[in-house]
Amino acid sequence: MQIPDAKEKWTSKINAITLGATRAEGGTRAKTVTVGGETTLPFLTSEGEMPHPPAIAGLVVDVVPEGWPDILKKAIGDEIRSPAEWARKCVEKFKVDLICLKLLGPDPVGKNLSADHAAKTVKAVLEAVDVPLIIWGCGDEKKDNEVLPPCSMAARGENCLIGAATDKNYRTLGAIGKADKHKLIGEAPVDINIAKQVNILLQDAGFDLKDVVMCQVTAALGYGFDYVYTIFERVRIAGLRGDKHMALPQIANVGWEVWKIKEALADEDILPGWGKLEKRGPQWEATTAVGYIQAGADIVTLAHPDAIATVKETITQLMTGDSK
């Protein structure tokens, strides 16, 4: 029987962004990672192209987050004490595509570490691994404005992805991105209109949107996941329909968000019947990630090696096979 042609015909293409710079390109990376470039919804390759698989960024934090459960720290191993060694293990053992260095240390309500300390950490991680680097500030816009410029300078020429630019600090981030030739993450608080606004502001500040990856502030599964999932989907559809301010790759900071929630912290003594935390934690992290990947995430950050392995296998499975 003939099946009616119900193919979606999109008019536009999501920007492709390459992260990392090899020696020939002025950096020191052995490999680069390209994301984006889709002309179709995730994995619907019978209707368009999905030239690059979603990338997994191994989450490395400059100081070990206080609330992280032992099962996560143990799974990562002793290397967790040194960002450089942790990053190296992520690449060599956990086989991530790139590293996401979260700079929690400078947070004024935490350790309040100096900008200089952060820049040194960035340098150390860049020396330890040869994959591209994401540098993500603590989220305090004032402190990020102090910390990220020297970090950007320390990584000059490496073509990193730096974030997050919000409607409050887009000028500073736009300036360092341009000066040191990095890409930027534009971030909005679970609001599609502000997400677009941030991109317009960056563009007005002279930063090319072809160098921006969007972040909707990630929600863990069960904690606003539905809102963020839908914004991912709406942004992607708007981008494919020709809205140039939305035709950007998207990132979900899954590892950072999931390890704060009850389901990833409390074992069966508190949640009887919910399964051993050792399994449940990474399952929760992987489920959050594969959900966002179906909605249009191009980069997901992950912390637990089991979650990394599961998501990696799932991506491979989704990218393999003929295009029918």
Partner: protein, 447 residues
């Protein structure tokens, strides 16, 4: 699906006889299209036109019920959109946990008991495994019937019966046909017999095809032979192809009114590895499955999948809320700060997250604003100083602390005077406008 006047007109006698009370058939068709009249108000409508019109007036995707009438059954299908933001997804997917044919009767009954117990409560909703997939592969008819009967006596959930052999399937269906199991599954090889079993016993039938064309052919044949309830079956291991096939089938049904695909879908994602199975199941929760066949029964697998279902099938037009009560974050004591916020889930989660980040144990009083954020609630009269005072009284917040200081959202500075004048909270502190400012605020302003 709504028909246009032109499409309706084609089915009318086109005689302009006027017996319907309208001067022309076209005028009548316009009335029907705008739902002012029913097509059957035309006294000369042919039987053929009647059935065509009733078909066209039925929803583009059928609602399929598995299990007995009344409680205990599940309903899937009747979906209307491809993306949840376009309206909402209507019928949440159900997990069907597999009982392998290789399990001994005792082990199988034990697993069924565990499935009966697999009920969880999360944010006030009951989440549960609602189907049992009884695998009858390789069993002779007698044994298949015996097992099915024994399991049915113990199981709270209705069955998906899995077999390739028509004799075994017929025998198994015969002993539970009153409980309307889903017959899984008709393929090109066994279609004829499977279709006749489903038609005879009026049970729902799962159908799979090597290609979408074959699937459409089999679905049409089944429908023509009297199977009313069909489920389109896809293979989760062939992930990439199945994502495309399930999407194409749904689109053809919803956007093109293609009847052979006007049924819900299911995906067999059973995998030996729990993590792989969880990831595959979650993938097809996002992408349109009405039933997911899985092996696992560990809470560490069920909870994330069921939560993904809960999230994706939440109505996006109805705001998520949290319970309106006094929350204790961290090791609070009588000197801990008291804050209030709204019961819109995202607002609450941001405030809760930032309070945790501040490492200052706090009481958070959640005010019922009907799921609106601070400013929207204020603008919509869902949040007033009076309401805050009442809620704090009802939640007995003043009994928990010895101070009388209350932190209010920075977006509502005007509340300060009224709260101080009308309540025991004599020192109102105006907090930050955004939750992200809470840690700095508490560090600087709470002594």
């Amino acid at each position: 699906m709504a028909l246009t006047a032109m499409a309706l007109y084609k089915h009318l006698p086109r005689t302009n006889c006027g017996d319907c009370g309208f001067p022309t058939c076209m005028a009548f068709a316009m009335q029907v299209a705008s739902k002012q009249k029913a097509a059957t108000d035309c006294p000369h409508l042919s039987e053929q036109a009647k059935s065509a019109l009733s078909e066209a007036a039925s929803p583009p995707m059928k609602l399929v019920r598995i299990g007995p009438a009344g409680t205990g059954g599940v309903e899937i299908g009747q979906e209307t959109v491809m993306f949840r933001h376009e309206e909402k997804f209507h019928h949440a997917p159900n997990l069907a946990v597999k009982i392998p044919a290789s399990l001994s009767n005792d082990e199988a009954l034990k697993k069924i008991e565990q499935i009966n117990q697999a009920v969880f409560t999360r944010v006030g909703q009951e989440l549960a495994v609602r189907l049992v997939a009884v695998d009858l592969a390789g069993l002779p008819s007698e044994k298949a019937a015996e097992r099915t009967k024994a399991f049915a006596a113990k199981s709270r959930a209705p069955f998906v019966l899995m077999a390739e052999d028509p004799d075994a399937m017929a025998a198994a269906v015969a002993v539970v046909s009153d409980k309307k199991p889903l017959i899984y599954k008709a393929t090109a090889k066994n279609a004829e017999r499977f279709i006749s079993i489903a038609a005879d016993k009026k049970c729902p039938l799962a159908i799979s095809g090597e290609t979408l064309e074959q699937l459409a052919d089999l679905a049409k044949t089944a429908k023509d032979k009297g199977v009313a309830d069909i489920v389109l079956a896809f293979d989760g291991k062939d992930t990439a192809r199945s994502i495309r096939a399930i999407t194409t089938a749904r689109r053809a049904a919803l956007k093109k009114g293609f009847r052979p695909f006007g049924f819900p879908s299911m995906v067999d994602v059973a995998h030996d590895d729990m993590a792989r199975e969880t990831a595959l199941a979650s993938t097809f929760v996002a992408k349109y499955a009405g039933i997911l066949i899985i092996n696992g029964l560990d809470g560490a697998e069920l909870l994330p999948i069921l939560t993904a279902i809960q999230n994706i099938y939440t109505d996006p037009q109805v705001p998520n809320t949290v319970e309106s009560k006094l929350y204790e974050i961290g090791a609070v004591n009588e000197n801990s700060p008291v804050l209030f916020t709204t019961n819109f889930a995202l607002t609450y989660f941001s405030v809760e997250g930032e309070v945790e980040r501040s490492k200052v144990p706090c009481f958070i009083s959640v005010i019922d604003t009907g799921g609106l954020g601070v400013l929207n609630a204020y603008a919509g009269d869902k949040l007033s100083a009076e309401k805050v005072v009442k809620a704090l009284d009802a939640q007995k917040a003043a009994e928990k602390v010895k101070h009388r200081k209350l932190v209010i959202p920075g977006l509502l500075p005007a509340f300060r005077a009224e709260i101080e004048d009308t309540s025991v909270w004599k020192q109102v502190l105006i907090g930050p406008e955004n939750a992200s400012g809470i840690p700095a605020f508490l560090a600087g302003n709470w002594k």
